[in-house]
Amino acid sequence: MEFVSPEGLRLDGRRPRELRRINCQLDVLSNADGSAIFEMGNTKVLAAVFGPHAVTRRSELREEGALVVCEYSMAAFSTGERRRRGKGDRRSTELSMVIRNTLEQAVITELLPRSQIDVYVQVLQADGGTRCAAINAAVLALAAAGVPLRDLVAGCAAGYLDGTALLDLNYTEDSGGGPDLCVALAPRLDSLYLVQMDNRLPVDTFQAVMELAREGCRTISGVMRAALLEHTQRLAVARGITAAV
C-alpha cells in the first residue's frame, strides 16, 4: 500500500507535516466539574473530570498530594465494526495507566493534599491517535475544572512510513505496520511527560520523527490554549467581571 503519493500527499490528502482539523468544546456536561470534547479529524474523545473531592477509599489516601484516578473506555459505536467494549480489557487498562501517569505529572498535586481527582475518558469515534486525543481531552477538562496544572500539556503522534516522517497518523496509517510514536509534551517547560513507541526505528530517523511529534504537540497546545481563553472570557463576561472592573 502506498501511504505517500509521488506528489507528497497522504491517503487523506494531507501533507506529511500536517495535522488533522482540531475542534475543542468545553464544559459539555453539566454534572461534571469540568468536561471537554477534543476532536481531531475523525477521532473524537470526551473527557469528564470530577473533583478534587475527598478520597472514596481511605486506604488510598495520600497525605502529600492528590490522587489521580483515570478510566479510559471506548464506546461500542466508536469503530467501524460495532463491538461491545468494556473498560476492563488489557488495552483499556494500559491506556488508563498511561493517561493517569501523564496527568499525575501535569497536575500540581501537592496543592491538593488528601483529595482525589477522577478523570473519565471515553472515545466516541476512533480513527487513530486516540491515546493522544484522550490526553488532550483530559487536560482540557482538568483546566476547565480549575485544577492547577504545571503546563498546558498536549499529546501528538508521529510515524514513519514510505521513508517519510508523518505527523498525526490516522487509523489506516496506524495499521500500516510502521513505527508509531506517541508523545506528550509540556511546551513551556519543554519536558516530555510521555514517550511511547511500538516497532523499531534507526536512531537518526527517530530524532527526526521525535522532533516532528514535538512540533505537533506545541501546535496542538496552542489550539487548546485559544479554546480555553475564549471559554474563560465568555464566563467572565457572563459573570460581569469585565463590566465591574
Binding site: 500540581i108 493534599p113 496544572l149 503546563d151 511546551p187 490554549r225 464566563l235 463576561v237 459573570r239 472592573v245
Partner: protein, 328 residues
C-alpha cells in the same frame, strides 16, 4: 402518537451551545472592555514596571517568570499577583454559611458532603442539644446521634474552622442552623455565589425561606412558622429558655402543609436560580429577585422559565442593567 388526548406532548429541539451564543450576542463578549487580563494555563503573567512581586494562588515561577497554573482573570493587589479561577470547587473559609448532605456517621461526628475538596465534619459537641442544655456529651448521646441527623439528610451549618490540611469543621450552634426539610435543593457553581453579610433570607411577603450556601448549594423552601420564630429568635440575640418549649411543641405537631400558592412561589424562585446558573450569572438576592419579578411581570408560566424566550429576556435585562451602571 399521543396516547391520551388530554396531555399534549411538548417537543423541544436541543440546540447545543444556544445559551452561550445568547450570552455572546446580547452581552457583546467580543466588544467587552479589555481592562482585565485573561490567562490560560502556562501563560506568562507580565510583571513589567513592578519591582518584585508576591506569588499568589494560581501561579508558579518558572525560570524567574511568573506563569499561570489555572485559567482565569489576573488580579493584582499591591505586590501580590494571583489568578482567580472562574470554575472550581468550593474552598471553605471560616464563618461561611453552608448547606450540606450528611454522608455518614464517624464516631463522634457526622461526615458532611459539602461538594468541596475535602470532607467536612460536624462534631457531636458542635450541635445544640434539645432544649439548649449545656453539658458534656456522653456515650448515650453518641448512640442517639441518628436522632439529630440521619444519613442523607440535608443540613445548614456554619464553618467553624478550616484545619491546616484543608479539612473542615462545622457547627450548628444557633437556632437558625439545623436540618432542612420540605423544600428544594439547587446546585450552583460556587464561584457564582457572592459572600455576603446575610445568607439566610426569610421573605415573609412571599412566604419563602432562602439559604444561599457559600458552597454552591442553595435551599429554597416554603416559610414555616417555627422557622420564622427561630429566625426572629436568632436575630434577637439567641434563643432563650422560653424558646425551648416552643421548639418541642413545634416538633410534636407537624406544621400545616404549605398552600399551593406558596409552593408555586418556591418553584418560581428555584427556577429563577436555575436560569441564572444556566446563564453563568452571579446568584445573590438582588439578581434572584430581579429574575423572579421579571417572570411574574412577564406572566411566564412556571414550566416556561427555562425556555429560550425567557432566557433572552433575562440576559437582555442584565445587559440593560450593566449599560446603565456604566453610564453612572
Amino acid at each position: 402518537m399521543a396516547a391520551a388526548g388530554a396531555v399534549a406532548v411538548k417537543v423541544r429541539a436541543l440546540v447545543p451551545g444556544a445559551d452561550v451564543a445568547l450570552i455572546e450576542r446580547v452581552l457583546n463578549v467580543h466588544d467587552a472592555p479589555s481592562n482585565t487580563t485573561f490567562v490560560c494555563v502556562g501563560d506568562e503573567i507580565s510583571t513589567e514596571g513592578q519591582e518584585g512581586f508576591l506569588r499568589g494562588h494560581g501561579t508558579q515561577v518558572v525560570d524567574g517568570k511568573l506563569v499561570a497554573t489555572v485559567c482565569g482573570v489576573v488580579e493584582r493587589v499591591n505586590k501580590l499577583i494571583y489568578v482567580k479561577t472562574l470554575n472550581s470547587r468550593y474552598n471553605a473559609e471560616q464563618g461561611d454559611v453552608v448547606v450540606g448532605r450528611v454522608a455518614d456517621l464517624a464516631g463522634k461526628a457526622w461526615r458532611v458532603d459539602l461538594k468541596s475538596r475535602q470532607e467536612a465534619k460536624l462534631l457531636l459537641s458542635a450541635v445544640h442539644l434539645p432544649g439548649g442544655i449545656q453539658r458534656r456529651r456522653n456515650a448515650e448521646d453518641e448512640l442517639n446521634m441518628r436522632s439529630f441527623f440521619r444519613e442523607g439528610e440535608l443540613i445548614s451549618a456554619e464553618v467553624q474552622s478550616v484545619h491546616a490540611d484543608g479539612s473542615v469543621a462545622l457547627h450548628t450552634r444557633s437556632a437558625k442552623y439545623g436540618k432542612l426539610v420540605c423544600g428544594q435543593l439547587l446546585e450552583v457553581p460556587p464561584n457564582l455565589i457572592k459572600r455576603q453579610k446575610q445568607h439566610f433570607h426569610t421573605l415573609e411577603a412571599l412566604g419563602v425561606e432562602l439559604i444561599i450556601g457559600c458552597n454552591g448549594l442553595v435551599w429554597v423552601a416554603p416559610l414555616r412558622p417555627d422557622r420564622l420564630a427561630a429566625a426572629n429568635a436568632a436575630a434577637g440575640g439567641g434563643a432563650g429558655s422560653a424558646g425551648a418549649d416552643e421548639d418541642e411543641a413545634a416538633a410534636a405537631a407537624p406544621p400545616p402543609p404549605p398552600s399551593r400558592m406558596q409552593l408555586e412561589v418556591v418553584c418560581r424562585m428555584a427556577n429563577a436560580i436555575r436560569v441564572l446558573t444556566r446563564l453563568y450569572m452571579p446568584v445573590y438576592p438582588a439578581s434572584i429577585m430581579a429574575t423572579y419579578e421579571a417572570a411574574v411581570e412577564g406572566e411566564v408560566a412556571l414550566a416556561d422559565m427555562m425556555e429560550p424566550g425567557f432566557l433572552e429576556a433575562v440576559v437582555g435585562q442584565e445587559a440593560q442593567r450593566r449599560s446603565s451602571a456604566m453610564q453612572e
